[in-house]
């Protein structure tokens, strides 16, 4: 166990969920990638809740990032696995929906509040495998759920990051994709994985359940704050906007521009496309303001002083915690500012 893992568990127990999220985020920003840490071993005292979204799909909240649960005759498919240490509660909640094994975990990106439960949850499941696969690899081919992610997630989790070691191998994706899309047919519906490059990170995946008509967005879209643009891991504000536009393009609202396709954000409440539109408008307006200031030659400090997020701050802004308004403005600025000659990516 890493030296600070135990205090995290204790603090989560004492302070509740908001504190835990802040700590998880702080870990990814300040101490290097949180996935590189040994996960807290003791169960975290959190409450998880299930909400039926639509069709075969449920939203599980309280375990870190939101977890999407799709159930059916083929088994259970999860989008994201929550924080390490929440697995017992997550698994118990899943069991109230289905006795079938977990077959797939799809990671929307690398952060520990979404991938921390990969290893433990995957081991509680299994993959449908047989024939040549089992013949060549052995029974181990099927003894855990398949963990799917964009290639960039594996690249980052399997490499040391600064002074931090690589994430434990058991938590790595077991199957990656390098194409713009990856398709899975499971529980009687098409599941479309879309890679959004350089958005929240460089390995973001949006997951679309076509028959249930539900989209899981990962942290490209949340209802809890300004988008976390993790530039240290390949994020960029333009990619976030591209991702939001992609979600709007995929979704079809019902009457009055609400309902229809349902949207599960990375954090926060269940949404539909109208909620995504408000958020996309906000992020785009802020990008345009910062771009205009850059065009006028303003420095980062001048842009911060001009407060380009002022009108959205009462809803999304934060002055403390792992992702403050200042950090967001800085990420937008750095995403848009012309790169200096000779500077690396």
């Amino acid at each position: 166990m890493m030296p600070w893992a135990d205090p995290v568990t204790k603090m989560a127990t004492n302070l509740g969920w908001a504190a835990l999220l802040a700590i998880a985020g702080a870990a990814s920003l300040l101490a290097g990638p949180a996935y590189a840490q040994a996960p807290p071993a003791a169960p975290v005292n959190v409450e998880v809740h299930l909400l039926h979204v639509q069709g075969n799909v449920w939203m599980l909240v309280g375990a870190g990032g939101n977890i999407t649960v799709q159930v059916g005759d083929d088994g259970v498919l999860l989008v994201d696995a929550g924080l390490a240490g929440t697995t017992d509660k997550v698994y118990a909640a899943i069991k109230t929906l289905s006795d079938k094994p977990v077959r797939y975990i799809i990671d929307t990106h690398l952060h520990a509040d979404h991938t921390g439960g990969n290893e433990a949850l995957a081991k509680l499941g299994n993959t449908i495998a047989g024939g040549n696969v089992v013949g060549d690899i052995g029974a181990s081919a099927g003894n855990q759920a398949t963990v799917v992610a964009a290639q960039e997630v594996l690249d980052r989790m399997s490499e040391p990051d600064g002074n931090r070691p690589a994430a434990p191998q058991g938590s790595w994706p077991t199957e990656t994709y390098t194409t713009p899309e990856r398709k899975i047919y499971f529980n009687g519906e098409g599941v479309l994985l879309t890679h959004v490059p350089h958005a929240h990170t460089d390995g973001d995946t949006i997951v679309f359940f076509r028959r249930s008509d539900v989209i899981s967005t990962g942290d490209i879209f949340t209802t809890t704050g300004y988008p976390f643009v993790d530039m240290a891991h390949g994020g960029n504000i333009q990619g976030v906007i591209d991702g939001l536009n992609r979600i709007i393009e995929m979704a079809i609202p019902a009457d009055e521009q609400e309902g229809g396709t349902q949207v599960i954000p990375g954090h926060g409440r269940q949404c539909d496309v109208a909620d995504v539109v408000w958020y996309q408008e906000m992020v785009t307006i802020i990008r345009d303001r910062v771009q205009d200031m850059i065009n006028k030659g303003m420095t980062l400090e001048q842009v911060k002083a001009a407060r380009p997020t002022f009108d959205y701050d009462p809803r999304y802004g934060k002055t403390t915690g792992f992702w403050t308004t200042d950090m967001f403005v800085e990420a937008v600025y750095k995403s848009l500012a012309p790169k200096k000659e000779g500077a690396g990516q």
Partner: protein, 298 residues
């Protein structure tokens, strides 16, 4: 049985019937708002029908952040496909040029009211007002234009409380109302007249509750028209573009004060501008010179 006993039994039966009748009645005469209601626009015609002017924030308890949202708002935003069919929120819908229909849902066995339902002709917006005491959904449940509403009788007034609202506007010139807001509506029926007092509480964009009233008249001949709405490409613009005025770049904000001879400071709104004594203060403020012709920036 003697006559005396018969009189006592009859008297007891009458008393029982009376008590029964009382028990079946609401505590105070609840005024069932069910029926067909046509709007009256005697109040706030300019805002409700032609629509508010750009930069008119008078009488609204907005904060600085809401003011900037309004200043940045570009009417072209409504042209976007995603916004063309977007309904008014539950707190604003009463204000629209909308016919209103209200009907009651009753449990057959107990004859208790489960819910009232409302339908507004604008956008075909429908609200369910639960009267059965059910708890509100958890915070992670969806928010909608109409939100989650419960109703209670306060004497003869139906008081509706609404949570789980999506973001919407508090005025149709870009002043926002956040998705953290709640609202209440008080339905007061006086015979063939219905007054709806709608109050918005928004911890994000309002510094005080914002109250508005709207009036309706009972109209048994009212025919509700459907509201088919299909989004189309109205203007050819790059995908993902969001029309908005950049900071300090909205040149339309002085039209309203210039055209109406109202001090610019007053048009900026805020809680102070809601109260009558503000009129005295306004008299000390400078106004822009009135144009010979109405100013409309192109």
């Amino acid at each position: 049985m003697g006559q005396f006993h018969r009189i006592r039994i009859a008297g007891g039966l009458i008393a029982l019937l009376f008590v029964g009748a009382l028990a079946g009645r609401p505590a105070r005469a609840q005024q069932d708002p069910s029926g067909e209601w046509s709007p009256r626009f005697d109040e706030d015609w300019e805002e409700r029908i032609p629509g508010p002017e750009i930069g008119d924030y008078l009488g609204i308890p907005i904060n600085e952040a809401a003011r900037l949202r309004g200043d940045s708002w570009d009417a072209a935003l409504v042209e976007l496909q995603e916004n063309q069919c977007r309904a008014h929120g539950a707190d604003y819908g009463w204000r629209g040029p909308s016919q209103l229909s209200i009907w009651k849902e009753v449990d057959r066995a107990s004859q208790k009211t489960i819910a009232f339902h409302t339908h507004l002709s604008a956008y075909g917006a429908e609200q369910t007002i639960w009267m059965d005491g059910r708890p509100e959904p958890p915070e992670y449940a969806p928010h909608t234009w109409q939100g989650f509403s419960t109703g209670k009788w306060d004497g003869d007034t139906l008081v509706i409380t609404t949570t789980h609202l999506k973001e919407n506007w508090v005025r149709r010139n870009g002043l926002p109302r956040s998705d953290m807001a709640t609202s209440s509506a008080h339905l007061l029926r006086h015979g063939n007249y219905l007054t709806v007092v709608a109050i918005t509480y928004d911890p994000v964009y309002l510094t005080e509750p914002f109250m508005r009233t709207s009036d309706f008249v009972y109209n048994s001949q009212q025919a509700m028209a459907p509201w088919p709405c299909e989004s189309v490409d109205e203007v050819d613009r790059p995908a993902g573009q969001v029309p908005a005025h950049l900071l300090g770049a909205n040149t339309f904000l002085n039209e309203f004060p210039a055209n109406y001879g109202i001090p610019v400071e007053a048009t900026r709104g805020g809680a102070e501008t809601m109260y009558p004594e503000y009129q005295v203060k306004m008299k000390t403020m400078k106004t822009l010179p009135r144009p010979a012709k109405k100013v409309i920036n192109q």
